[in-house]
Every structure is written in C-alpha cells, then in structure tokens.
C-alpha cells in the first residue's frame, strides 16, 4: 500500500509539474501557502492529530494550481485486559479493538494516514485527483466541476461530479472476522449562489452519493442471539442531501451566517443539521467567529440496540452507533489575526494570518469531544 501511495503521489506531482510546464512562458503571479494543525480528543481518550499543508500557485492566464497534503495520526488507548475477554469488547458498540495478543494487548493502537491532492482551477472549470493511504485502507478520487456567473454576476451556478474508489484490506489480526473488499462512490452536486442585496447572499445546493461495496467495519462484532457475530451492512447505499445558507452583513462590522442541511438515504437514516455563525471584527486585524451547531438524526431501519437472532434485520446487523438515533451539539470559537501591521516591512510575511479555534462537541450517547485548531496562512 505504501509503494502504491508513493507511486500515486509521484503521479500527482508529475501531473502538476507537467501542467506548469505546459504553461511555461506564463509568469506565476502569486503563491500562497497554509499550514493547519488540527487536534481532536474525545471522552474515550481517542486522539487524532492532523497536519494540513496547502500550496496554491496562481498563473497569469487565470489558471491556478493547488496541492494539499494531509497527515493524520490516530491513537486509540490500550485496554488493560486480554483480547476476546468481556473487558476487551466495547460495552457500547460491542466492537473489539484491532489489538491482539500478537500485536501486544496493552499497547496503544496507533494508525497513520497520508493523503495528497492536486487540483487545477480555471475561471469556469476545476478538476483534481485525491488519494489517501493507511495501513488497511487505500482511497482515490477524481473530480470535475463547472460554474457559471449569470445575471450580471448576481447568480452563480455550479455543478460537479466525482468518482471515488477505495480498497479495504483489514489488518491480519486474531480479532478480525471480516474480509476486505472494494468501495465505489459516485457523487454529483449542484449549487446556486444568489446575491440578494449588497449585504446578503443566499446559497442553495443538493448532492447525491451512490455508494456501492463494502460498507461495514471488518473489525466490529455485534452481540446478537446470545453471541458475537460480524457486523453486516447492505452493500448499496444512496445518500441525498440538500442544504442552504444565508449570509447577512451587519452594520456593526459583523456578519451572521445561518446554515441548514437535510440528509436522507435508503437505509432510512435522516438528519437535520442547523448552524449559526457570528463573525465580528474586533479591530482591522482581528476577527472573532462564534459558532453553534445542532444535529439530530433518525436511526437506520436495521439498527437495533439488541438483535434477537444472528440473522439480524433482513440479514443486516450493525454495532455502529452512528446509524442510531441521537442528537448532538457543537459550539466554539475561532480567532483570526491578520499580521499585516506587525510584518508590514517584511514582504514575505506582510500577508500572514494566524488562526486559533476551539470547539466542544457532545451528543445524546454521552459522547463528548474537544477539537482544537491552529493554523497559519501565507501569501507571497
């Protein structure tokens, strides 16, 4: 998998360089780079540290090249118990952790993921390629998008399609009961952005995802009929969502954004997500953003807290709480500091911006999480 990842990264880089060389004779106008460190920790002591690196190159013929690299490290704390013992089974999800006596039952499980993305943007078109790799999962995606401004640039219509194909090969582990497989996702979106007034913008969009292939957790067991059996989900899922956003500028040098998203799929999961965000200038260089999000979800048709028999519901069983019914709250803040005044004499740093954010997430399954983000944006 790592050799494949390296080959794919080299392909992405080569395509990017080839594109740049095709545009030789075209003078690069602007570069920008950004780095973000994202830290997630939850009530189960699971920690995720993610590094994001972005680089954008603006060419003078209105083309722009984008590269993104992401490095995730997930740490799942060790269980102080022997594998297959009752203590080694998660009491809420009945999942068994992918730790066996072969790998050391009392060591934290650490998993790393790398992803790379290359994109090309023109005034009306954009396209890109993405890949990510981890020890048991290799994912790739291609996408194409088109957008057009209408009515004196007051209305923007955009549409995009993508195709993703994943290869899942679970780790060879005594607890692993499922086999690997493939997963394909076809995605289509259409979005309209309408300027309603000099201070108001409204956006409306819809998306369809057609997912085919392996969609359950190969490491997870489900307690059914008095025993633990491997989780089984349908291999087809059609997912739909519609969303809208209203952005309104307030005369106190602030803005408010209201988002709503409705989601549904053919597993009978449906959800509503509502977000309110307030952004306020403290002074010319400092912006503070506050956000609150409320989420509510209806369970999948085959989700049960307990399954009476090993055949489940229509042959499907799940130990994934994400397919159950629950509600969740998220609130937090983000501070953005434009350092122009501090570095006005240093050309390289005169457009630097720092970001710091903290959010708290909790849901009705007694799950809580802290999310922190720090980042720096550079333009030169």
């Amino acid at each position: 998998m790592q050799v494949r990842a390296c080959l794919c990264f080299i392909t992405v880089l080569s395509l990017s360089l080839a594109t740049a060389s095709v545009c030789r004779g075209v003078t690069p106008q602007e570069h920008s780079a950004a780095y973000t460190l994202h830290f997630f920790s939850d009530a189960d002591d699971v920690k995720v540290m993610t590094h994001y690196g972005n680089y954008d190159l603006q060419l003078d013929n209105e083309l722009a090249l984008g590269l993104q690299w992401t490095h995730d490290v997930v740490v799942i704390p060790a269980l102080e118990s022997a594998p297959q013992s009752p203590e080694a089974i998660d009491a809420i999800t009945t999942a068994s952790r992918p730790i066996s006596s072969e790998n050391g039952a009392f060591e934290d499980f650490v998993k790393a993921r790398e992803s790379f993305e290359g994109s090309l943007r023109a005034p009306h078109y954009n396209t890109g390629y993405y890949l990510s790799t981890e020890s048991d999962y290799f994912a790739q995606m291609l996408w194409v998008g088109y957008n057009r401004d209408l009515w004196n640039d007051n209305l923007n219509l955009s549409t995009g399609i993508s195709y993703a194909w994943d290869d899942i090969q679970p780790l060879d582990d005594a607890d692993t009961t499922g086999r690997g497989g493939k997963l394909q996702t076809r995605h289509w979106n259409v979005i309209a952005t309408q300027i309603l007034s000099p201070t108001t913008v409204f956006r409306l969009g819809g998306e369809i995802n057609a997912v085919r292939g392996l969609q359950h957790d190969t490491y997870r067991n489900v307690y059914a009929g008095g025993t633990n059996v491997p989780e089984r989900h349908p291999d087809r899922r059609s997912r739909y969502d519609v969303f809208c956003r209203l952005s309104q500028y307030l005369h106190s040098r602030a803005s408010v954004k209201l988002d709503y998203r409705f989601y549904t799929d053919d597993w009978s999961v449906s959800s509503h997500a509502t977000t309110a965000k307030l952004s306020q200038y403290v002074n010319d260089a400092l912006v503070v953003n506050y956000r609150y999000r409320y989420y509510t979800q209806v369970e999948a048709e085959f989700f049960r807290e307990e399954y009476p028999s090993i055949s489940g519901i229509d042959g499907y069983l799940t130990g994934d709480y994400r397919l159950g019914g629950f509600g969740a709250h998220l609130f937090g803040f983000l501070v953005q500091w434009n350092m122009k005044q501090l570095f006005s004499d240093v050309d390289f740093l005169s457009q630097t911006r720092l970001r710091f954010g903290y959010e708290r997430y909790f849901n009705s399954n007694n799950f809580t999480a802290n999310i922190m983000e720090v980042g720096i944006d550079l333009a030169f």
């Binding site: 106008q29 009515w151 004196n152 007051n154 209305l155 000099p198 010319d284 122009k340 006005s344 005169s350």
Partner: protein, 184 residues
Amino acid sequence: MCFKPNLAIFAVRLCMVLSGLGPTAALADQDADEILASYPLSPIDGSQEVVLSTYRGQVVLVNFWASWCAPCLKELPVMNRWHESWRERGGRVAAISVDHHAYRAVQFAKDAGLTLDIYLDGPDGLARQLDIPSLPLSYLLDRSGRIALTVCGSSKQDLAELERVAEGMLAAKASTDSLDEDAK
C-alpha cells in the same frame, strides 16, 4: 395527491420571479462626460476636493477600482508607471476607489507605493451616478474632457488598447506643439 399540476404552477411562478431579475439600476440623466467633469472628488491625502474639469487640456485616464477587486490591484501598478511617464507630456491617471471602508484603499496605496492621483469616493458616489457596468473600469478622456475610450476589464489586451490610444493622443499633442513652434 396530484403532483404534476402543482409542479407546473411552481415552475411558472419561479420563471416569473427569475425573469424579473436583471439590471434595474437607474441610468444617469446627464451626459457621462459632464458628470465626470463636474463631480467633486476627495483626494486620498485629505486635501481640497478636485473636479476633473481642472485637468482640461490634459489626457486623463479615469480608473475605478477597489481594494477587494484582485484584477484592479494588478493593473494599478501598471497605471502608476503610465502616470509617471505621462506627467511631463500632458497626461495623468486618476484612480477613484469605490471601497466601502476607505482605510483599505489607503493601506493598499501605501503598500504598493502608488504616486498617481487617488481619490476616495465609496460605492454610492460617482460610480453609482455613472452606473459603471464593471470593475475595474477605465475612461480615457481627451484634452477637451470627452470620453474617448471606455475599457471594462484589465486583461493584457485591455491595457494594451488603453496605452495605445493614450500614447496616440499624447503624441498628437506633442506634434501639434512642434508645428506651432515651427510656425512661430
């Protein structure tokens, strides 16, 4: 439930609504030349207001820009070089900012080291009176203050056209002066 007729009614309603979309801003009653000539402009340094009719006899490039308009920021340094080149030949560039927050225009002018004539007017001033159709927008005024050329956009071709016509008008003045000298 009979869905199709409801959908048809909705489609008709939507078309009626969307067909109402379009430019509805009022056009200027007076000739654009006269408006440009007589409108009082506030210089960026806070000095006394200026009217463009003061520059009759010169070739004046009037450029509307904003600090949030990326193509505008790219062409202003080019126009700054033109301003410095034309000064001694009877030409100048007047850049009018339509920024809502004037401090951003001031900051950009300072960072870019611009020496051309910059005026702060906001979005509801001259730009609104003329109802300019795009940003950036350039009017090239001849020596009698009439609009000789209007350019919407900032592509290489647009800038080349502006420079070509302006240089032509400046050269015509130079040759007229030369003939007058010979006649004397």
